[in-house]
Symmetry: C2
Subunit: 133 residues, 2 copies
């Protein structure tokens, strides 16, 4: 049994770089190159230095792939996104502000209903949005 360790239910634990490259339709050299650029893309290696990719490694790779190949970020831009230094831009800000205003309004509304009216209040529906941002 090589590096594709299998459990009794035949679930693959590790992927080789060739398999990963095929999955994403890219050259293996690109995966090695990105590895130098992104800390999140450094897989475990076996005793002889062969790369062993886990599901989590694949997810990280998918994120980088989406940012760079689909959305059109530069490598530096993708790093910024991954480091969470951005996101709060453009439309996002407006949307979040809208959500906050709505939440405030809903809280006020709930208080009004609870204090003045015998109507059944859908409490959990309100609470559902309390930790959105």
């Amino acid at each position: 049994m090589p590096y594709k360790e299998k459990s009794e239910t035949d679930i693959k634990l590790y992927y080789t770089i060739g398999e990963v490259a095929d999955k994403f339709g890219v050259n293996a050299s690109l995966i090695r190159f990105w590895e130098k650029e992104f800390e999140a893309l450094r897989p475990k290696k076996n005793a002889t230095g062969k790369r062993l990719y886990t599901k989590t490694d694949l997810e990280n790779l998918q994120l980088v792939y989406n940012l760079v190949k689909i959305e059109g970020y530069t490598l530096e831009g993708a790093k910024k996104v991954i480091d969470g230094k951005l996101f709060d831009n453009r439309k996002d800000k407006k949307i979040i502000r809208s959500l906050q205003e709505i939440r405030m309004f809903l809280h006020g509304l709930r208080n009004a209903i609870e204090n003045e009216s015998p109507v059944q209040t859908p409490k959990d529906t309100f609470d559902k949005y309390d930790n959105i941002e």
Copy 2:
């Protein structure tokens, strides 16, 4: 009076490429280069071919500047964003879905209030969020 036309209240209508370049802290050649890449960045020109930038031109330029210089998009990536082919990614999707659920809930709530209760309904407050996305 040159290209900086002024109204009686001294409001500038057009900016030269040099002024624009200074505002953004970039080389004028970059502005000309971007002009070839982005349709939205083609300002009006006077009879001799000199570029005349309006406020709107500056806003468009600001958008491109943010995407390319702040967020780290490639020029192609920035084009995609501007053409609205993307945006619906990552966190955004969840936020929009939340907004839509809230809107549906609010509409239901408004109907309930209007039909069953003599409470004053803040109609415009609801309507305010009707065209968010």
